[in-house]
Symmetry: C2
């Protein structure tokens, strides 16, 4: 059961002692088998799916993959093992001896003593064909099978590694992990396009609303994290968030994952940006170190050469910082014609973000200090003028545009109260004001779109290809 | 910013070299400060909230807590520092020297050179009073503040540690982490009480349904995990799940977290139970080792003595295994009168689960092989008789009852097809049948209720006290 560790221990004890022929073969993962440094005839059992099969004179070559790595294990068998059921997509259990491979393509191969077809594969009906490379759009039609292809396998292994790396990053830095709620009666941004939640019509509840009040799917865990940063100083969450946006864009989903952090006693955007940059780089380096082949496949498959250089370029340079006001000046001086004319006080659009990143030599760039009128009530007033700004920060990256958004939060009771009053929100946010009445502290935080992060480091064009089961307008398969 | 590690490094370099008086004090967390083994006058800065204040002759004692640990740091100051604002709940920044404490209660204390009140606390309005122990029911009314109490602080730190331990357990065992979707068009159990999701009424979408079909909040990631186990062999998910149950029980929430795993090439309940037991014990031991004081507080605060013994008892014994049929026999022979008469073919109720655990000497017990008629279509048929069962397993634990549920899945195409046809579900689950057409493998998996797990190891009676923001009928605060 317990994969590589126990089994390699079993292998080791087997190879150091005389190994009786009858000893049951130790089960080992493909990754475990490929990791054996000097194979010497250890008897093992490997289980997985056939990725390729080739008959050559008296010898049969199979490649067996179990998803533990991109690489498959080469199985070499006598042609007497050949059978109709031993085909692309079938599941097999192979017992045999791990030996050094004569080929340069792999270190190790498995000399089969026994091959059992566990489940055959109906090749005619199977939507993926042997040796064919199917476009990502085609694979999307088969959400229950596409994870069996090389490219989706690599993307989802990277996703899993990145998830673990993000948890480690925060744990190592002393953050407490918080599960912020999915169902909420808040609307954090005041402007998000929300999904509403109600018990399905079949259920009888005495009151009209299950929760007595209208409730929605969360658009951000920020306000709940602010609660927690008032107790634990440094907190983070990593969970699903939702937007009912009617969008078919390559950068939007109705359900996506956000990594959010909130830090008490933090007084400058500079300190906040340091955490953001560190999260970006530490996670990418862990992924590169733990699954280099998977990253390489994405870079090769999707845009040969260029994307890998882009990632290295981002990792080795310090991210840049410009103010919103500088950004608008840069855009105004651009020779390019924009659909939306750049102007102080107007939002930056995707075309602007892309231009700014290019202008910065494809290095990620922080844009700071946005106009107060553009941003939500909780962002800290810079009390400047005449161009009135708040201490907000967005990180723009190549290929994707906005990846992080963050700010210092308004911790001053009276300033916050005034802004809430102007919006008619004082009553609804009394609890939020409370956080400033009882031991308020300067603090700030950010959110990072996890799928966009994966798009950015892997160079994947469409967000639907970096999440196991994408949900977007008109589509909720399975 | 980066807590203990960097700062302790700074401290170390400071204590080994002559330390000029002007050198800026290194910021250190309370946990970091308390962890300094032989304090020797290192200059540090600590930020947090005042948990207690005591004036004694010429000396002022403060206890400052920043949520990095249950213990607070004792600050010793000249009484000239005293001020009205220096009160319970205020946030402060203290600079001074870390010295060995003369008291036996702590190793280290902070001799204050400078104390700054960052944010005062309106004591009259603050719902928690100095030196008072408030009941958990009372704290629940203040979801935005209760995390600042000792007991909720400890519970949520344990929750964070347990989350990390679960991720590590699976990663170390070679599992791939999968984000299964929250919004789904499936109804896994066929019987769950579902929440339906729709765009809020303010949004205009051309079609009647945003997703074209009715969609719901997930009740389990199992079916999606089965898809993934067909590519990665061993997979897990850890995310929110939902039930629109009209229940005020101490064991149910409308939104709760589940840890689910799915394992391919797994052929026996025995192997599955081994993973379940190992997950339970490894996680508990990691928590006990990383935050013993937090666990101790829960055990002491909530049921002195008894609960800690119960946890140790569970950890040192092998979990027991009985069949459903044996369980019914045990219940029938019980001297106790049950509200629901135990009978073969009927569900086990909470009263039965509690009796069985007690009968087993308060050791967790696996109940296996339930009647086919009680269980969903995907569980593997044992093809026995006349009492027809499936390869299902529940783990019952002291105090909580059912903690895990799992099964082998029906991997045989024709058996599964027949059961789906009988339920009229063949069309809806064509994709699920596909998994058995293309390289099917024997497999199994389980789900564990994360809140119930925390209740079990901490001895906490009400599930609402182990989640940051509980959602249940008639209640969705914040």
């Amino acid at each position: 059961m317990f994969g590589a560790r126990c089994l390699l221990r079993a292998l080791r004890s087997c190879s150091s002692a005389p190994c009786p022929r009858q000893r049951p073969a130790a089960r080992v993962s493909v990754r475990g088998a490929l990791g054996v440094q000097s194979a010497n005839g250890e008897r093992v059992k490997v289980q997985g799916w056939i990725r390729s099969i080739r008959s050559q004179k008296e010898v049969l070559f199979l490649h067996v993959n179990d998803g533990s790595s991109l690489e498959s294990l080469q199985v070499v068998a006598d042609s007497s093992f050949d059978s109709r059921e031993l085909a692309f997509g079938s599941s097999v259990e192979v017992q045999g001896q791990l030996v050094k491979s004569p080929s340069k393509k792999q270190n190790v191969e498995l000399k089969a003593e026994k091959i059992e077809v566990v489940g055959s594969c109906d090749a005619k009906a199977f939507p993926f064909k042997y040796k064919e490379r199917h476009p990502l759009e085609y694979l999307r039609q088969y959400p229950h099978l596409r994870c069996r292809t090389n490219v989706l396998g690599s993307v989802l292994r990277v996703r899993s590694e990145a998830t673990a790396a993000i948890h480690s990053f925060f744990k190592d830095s002393g953050f407490v992990h918080i599960h912020t709620p999915v169902i909420t009666s808040n609307d954090c941004e005041g402007a998000g396009e929300l999904f509403q939640v109600e018990p399905s019509s079949k259920i009888k509840v005495p009151e009209e609303n299950f929760f007595n009040i209208p409730v929605f799917l969360t658009v951000s865990g920020q306000l709940h994290l602010e609660v927690m940063s008032g107790a634990f100083t440094q907190v983070f969450t990593f969970g699903p968030t939702f937007r009912a946006e009617n969008s078919q864009s390559r950068r939007h989903l109705a359900e996506f994952y956000m990594v959010e952090a909130e830090i008490s006693f933090l007084e400058s955007l500079q300190d906040l940006m340091q955490v953001m940059e560190s999260l970006f780089k530490t996670t990418a380096m862990t992924v590169l170190s733990n699954c280099p082949k998977d990253v390489e496949l994405c870079h090769k498959f999707l845009a040969p050469g260029q994307k890998k250089d882009r990632l290295e370029h981002m990792l080795k340079n310090n991210f840049l910082i410009i103010s919103y006001t500088e950004a608008v000046e840069i855009l105004k001086q651009a020779s390019q014609n924009f659909t939306f004319t750049p102007e102080w006080g107007a939002d930056l659009h995707t075309e602007h973000e892309k231009y700014l990143v290019k202008h910065c030599g494809d290095i990620p760039v922080f844009v700071i200090n946005y106009p107060l009128v553009l941003k939500p009530f909780y962002m800290r007033d810079n009390e400047d003028g005449p161009q009135h700004t708040v201490a907000a920060v967005d990180l723009l990256v190549p290929g994707v545009g906005e990846l992080f958004g963050g700010s210092l939060r308004e911790e001053r009771y009276h300033l916050l109260e005034q802004r809430l009053a102007r919006l008619g929100l004082t009553e609804a946010y009394q609890w939020y004001l409370d956080l400033r009445r009882f031991g308020s502290v300067p603090h700030g935080g950010f959110g990072m779109g996890f799928e966009r992060y994966l798009q950015c480091i892997l160079g994947i064009d469409n967000i639907k290809d970096v999440i196991p089961f994408p949900r977007f307008t008109h589509s909720c398969l399975l």
